[in-house]
Symmetry: C3
Subunit: 343 residues, 3 copies
């Protein structure tokens, strides 16, 4: 069961630059492409003629043409034409509402007619010239909610990412979770500590002494259906932490768009947005490479956790204070599922 | 469900040259081998002693010897001998009727006692010195009937094989399908057109001007259980097309023996027979290589079509005029299945 | 169904030298590790916090620490601690009794409290300085009982190992099977024969003329749950065979510890113990390499036998005189299963 009436990241523009892309999202098998006006489009990945996947075809005159026998499909799921055929009575396939924004293609897996553009999240970091963004994509064989749990409880940094962003002080600072409407916020503050290697490197980039004592913060924000934005950073100790003036800190925002594929797999669009040195492309690449390596450390753990949960589906997991972020996020997901009639 | 009382191509002689071959055909797991008289033989691939596959054994004194404990199997499925044992009461395994002809080993998956040699197809191209043949084998993960559909509607050449044998004029020439007894014929004729690359090359081989206008034909003939023979070629325009005298044309016969493995996989024995320059072995190899490449282009489409049909088993596919060849062929298959009691 | 109240080989010490090992044994998913006192320990491979596999963690202060969020697990399956948490009410995971002996880690898949150290097999070859041992591990996708059958009927050597230890005379010497309590013994004696290649090489090592006539023996001993020890060797003909004085013979003991993983897969710990030249390490390695190659020849046969048995579960296999060793061993297994309430 997935929330269908919501926007998920489907792909990045480069993935449809050379032709259609077939991808399953929330259990829906979809062909994504760019039409002749440059607008992205998406229809069920099934040719009504003989069932071939439309994503194996090509785009011509703005239509998605089936690569088997040449049926040309409109963006509304109705057949536009087919050589030598009258197509008016051809059955339709499901169209999907898509929007290209913030450097992503977004899809609404529910009914296209009910898609509400105003529900797209606000991402000022993707539009303002003061910000830069770099990111990547992982396919992970686990329930997407395990990734939400992972990101809403950064305690795991101490263990999974011990050589980069983990440090013992994370364990020692209890996080606080608050819920505000459909948003869940889990925040953790560590004061007067040494920065771990990743942040020491970031301090150097910002001309700060990497050995200086710092205040560190992690502020994780979940919003439905499955977005997690995390403000992370360090400031020289005693300057206000998260609120410190820019010259005292190194900080950024971790961007996580988590797109379910099946009940036990998902697409993970990860990235980092920063509002310093936004035009330094080399820095963007360096950060992306570092983040990709760190975030890749979670994959085996998550996939093997899924295997255990599939093997022992009846076991109740613990819900500790550190798990409150994930627990509250799942409550919101469950409520929205119920509202869609998928309790 | 498969037609069991019919001959299918099981393998080529080279596949049993160095020992037995295990292959599943129409859901039957079979060990094929050549006995001491040089005659091909086939029995269920199951040793009655401990269930080991007989195809892992070897042939000795004309018996198929199990490679685990030395049980020697007769071609009739009765155990011939076993070291230190009386074998008279050993249970039998199923024997299969096999015939070697036309450069293939044929198997009758039904009861061996009911096999009728007279039902073997007539293949003059395989026996006459005026013809040469070259071919190959693909294993494809789709229902064998999707391959019949594919071959009985060559419209797909325009899309799947656009750089070799496809051309837009195929779409524009409506095919005609006729049924005669158990044979289905779908024919398409294109007049006064340019030959596509594959046929231009063939025209050069036959000392014809490859840029000259031609009449082109495709005459597909289905016969049960799953053979498709296709006359293809081009003749200089206005000389009678398919009926033109040899000096005006380049032509050949595509040979397709389609052997079901499971409900969603099959063995595809493809090849090309020609009645010009039959002793030119290098030409045979060149054609085989070109055909293998072209026919390989269908594999991904067919396998992904199968995945879609398995995902949406309830969806009805369209049956357009171009699909008539496949539709009629399936009707004959369904009738023969019903006659065998597998409606 | 597996005998749970028995000792199985779980792993060798090198497999837990660099951290925990996750391994499924008799259907139980288990994390093995060495604690701070150097004692081996084993608990269910499931962290009670969020279900992560504990085997992905590490050992610290003698505890197995979960690599996800730092829960520290005691060897009794109770949580020892977790940063920032009271753990008293945490649910327990299953602990397993383990013993390290004879160069192996042994596990009792049944209730740890009921484990009886006195049931561990006696292995003088592993403790006496007069003996040397070398061995290896194979993972095989077949029911572990097919491996017991294999080892309790060495007739297969003639076929599966024809170039090393097989010879036609094995077929001709009927084996004798006796049952004594829970032990099954299948013995075969061949007199006044030529030694096969493997034993000719062994004769050379022992300064015997490899072309001399020999008496050969194979004495296979099954004991529950799934251990098979085999005395094998040759002696110069007429000197008493198995009972001959050391200067007349080349002999050794094949060690087979067979550990079920699932119903259709197992871990096969194979090796060879010898009581000549016990300190010749190079000889140990040469024998291990040769044995590993020979025993690897069984894998394809066993896995494809399993595939056949899974395909035709209703078929009864034959139980010939040569199969008596396996048949009797299975009877003992069945009786012990029944005694455990798993008839």
């Amino acid at each position: 069961m997935f929330i269908k009436n919501a926007w998920y990241v489907a792909c990045t523009p480069d993935e449809i630059a050379n032709g259609p892309l077939g991808r399953t999202i929330c259990g829906e098998k979809i062909a994504f492409y760019r039409d002749d006006e440059g607008k992205v489009a998406a229809v069920e990945d099934f040719c009504p003629h003989r069932g071939a996947p439309l994503s194996l075809g090509y785009v011509e005159n703005g239509k998605l043409v089936c690569g088997y026998h040449g049926l040309a499909m409109n963006r509304d799921g109705k057949t536009a034409s087919m050589p030598g055929q009258r197509v008016r009575a051809f059955p339709c396939v499901k169209p999907f509402a898509v929007i290209e924004r913030y450097g992503f293609v977004w899809v609404w897996p529910g009914k296209a007619a009910e898609a509400r553009e105003d529900l797209l999240p606000q991402c000022e970091w993707a539009e303002s010239p003061d910000w830069a963004y770099g990111g990547g994509l992982y396919h992970i064989n686990c329930d997407y909610r395990l990734m939400i749990d992972n990101l809403m409880d950064l305690t795991h940094e101490t263990y999974v990412h011990s050589t980069s962003i983990g440090q013992k002080e994370i364990d020692e600072a209890a996080p606080e979770t608050t819920v505000s409407g459909d948003e869940v916020i889990t925040a953790r503050y560590m004061e007067n500590i040494q920065a771990p290697p990743f942040w020491q490197a970031a301090m150097k980039f910002n001309d700060l002494d990497p050995t200086a004592a710092v205040d560190r913060w992690q502020i994780c924000r979940f919003s439905p259906p499955s977005h997690v934005m995390i403000d992370v950073g360090v400031a020289l100790a005693g300057n206000g932490g998260f609120e410190a003036a820019p010259q005292f800190k190194a900080s950024s925002r971790v961007i996580d768009f988590i797109t379910p594929e099946t009940e036990t797999s998902h697409w993970y669009f990860w990235g980092m947005a920063r509002n310093f040195k936004p035009s330094d492309v080399e820095l963007t690449n360096t950060i992306r490479e570092g983040q990709g390596k760190i975030f890749g450390e979670d994959l085996e753990m998550l996939e093997r956790q899924q295997q255990n949960l599939s093997l022992w589906p009846e076991r109740e997991l613990l819900k500790l204070n550190i798990d409150a972020g994930g627990v509250q996020s799942r409550k919101i997901i469950d409520r929205l599922l119920a509202e869609e009639g998928n309790a």
